[in-house]
Structures are given as structure tokens and as C-alpha cells.
Symmetry: C2
Subunit: 116 residues, 2 copies
């Protein structure tokens, strides 16, 4: 069974080097050599990461024979963000609870302060 | 090297069964048996998925000896959403471009229509 698109996206993002490559491409197109520069990594190793990103549709590569610049493709990132968005109420709830707690704490401190 | 937290989160999300388990837990706590029911999967296979989710901090399990209910933990999902949010401008840009294109198309149609 071939993995679904969302699984392929998340798997591609599950690596710090690949996320760093996407971060680099967020500031503009780059060649494979340019992308490899910040990493203590061989060009074949970088190429392997690029292939994973390309298969996941997260980057596209130009057709220029020599240079083949890579660019970011954001559509799969949007789908991943949309999926995560269903869970937003859960982390917002926990922040609401924290806020309630801090408000309660402030109230108590005020009370304590006025008794002095 | 142990993988960083974000990589562990994305790796845990890179599986449709694990995402379905999180979706189920979004509607409330559940036992392992309850979580296993919708899948044509053995209990050990489900347990393996739960272990991946637990290691990623995406679920927590109760300490009740018999039942050990699982519940969703949203914090790692928030971190993943925060990371994706840096790329929001890229997919919003492409939608803006699409909108511009549709507006242009409408204008042309109008022109064409008024010539009739």
C-alpha cells in the first residue's frame, strides 16, 4: 500500500535537515550545492533528502540542465496545517485553563495585599 | 543521535492509523480495546501505534491498572502547527495569485459580454 499524501508530507517533515532545507528555500530558490553548504553532509546525502522532499511535493526543481534550482512548494504544508487545525481547540483550551489559573492567582494576591 | 521533538511529532503523525486514533481521542478518552475496534488490526498492532504516540507525547495513559484510558495531549500538535505557520505566507500568496487571476478572468468576461 502506498502511503497517503498526508503521511508522505509528515514523514518528509520528520527530519531536521529537510526542515532546514525548506527554511532556506523560504528565502528564495537555491541550487543543490547552495542547499548543501550549511550542512556537514555529502552532496549525495543532500540529494537523497531533496528526493524525499520532491516526492512529497514540498519542493520542485527547475529544468535548466546545469543548475536545476529548487523552490519551495507550499500546498502540502497547507494540507498539514489544515489537519492540525482540527486540534486547535485542544491547545487553546489548555491555554484558557492556564489563563484562568493566573487570573485566580492574581485575585488571591490582591486579596492578600489588601489585608496588609 | 536521538531525534528532536519536532521530528518525533511529525514521524508519529506520518501514519493514517495513528492520525485516526488521535481523531478518536479528540472526542474523549478511550481504552485500547475501544481504540482498536474501528481497525482490522490486532491488539498488539494497535498497542505498537499507541507506544509511538505516547513516546511522541501525543497521548497520555491513565494509571488505572485494568483500564488505562488514553487521552489526547495537544502540546506537540501546537508546536507542529507553529512550525508550519512560518510557511503560511507561501500558500496564502498562491491563493492571492489565484484570486487575482479569477478577478482578471471575470473582467475579461464582462468586457466580452458587453461587446455582444
Amino acid at each position: 500500500m502506498s502511503p497517503d499524501r498526508l503521511s508522505t508530507t509528515f514523514a518528509a517533515l520528520a527530519d531536521p535537515t529537510r526542515r532546514a532545507i525548506l527554511a532556506r528555500l523560504a528565502s528564495g530558490v537555491a541550487s543543490v550545492t547552495e542547499l548543501g553548504e550549511p550542512f556537514a553532509m555529502s552532496l549525495p546525502a543532500i540529494s537523497k533528502h531533496l528526493k524525499v522532499l520532491e516526492r512529497a511535493g514540498l519542493i520542485a526543481r527547475g529544468r535548466e540542465a546545469q543548475w536545476r534550482p529548487c523552490r519551495l512548494e507550499a500546498r502540502p504544508l497547507k494540507r498539514a496545517a489544515d489537519w492540525l487545525d482540527h486540534y486547535r481547540r485542544f491547545w487553546e483550551q489548555s491555554f484558557d485553563r492556564l489563563e484562568d489559573y493566573l487570573r485566580e492567582l492574581k485575585k488571591k494576591e490582591k486579596k492578600h495585599g489588601s489585608r496588609k
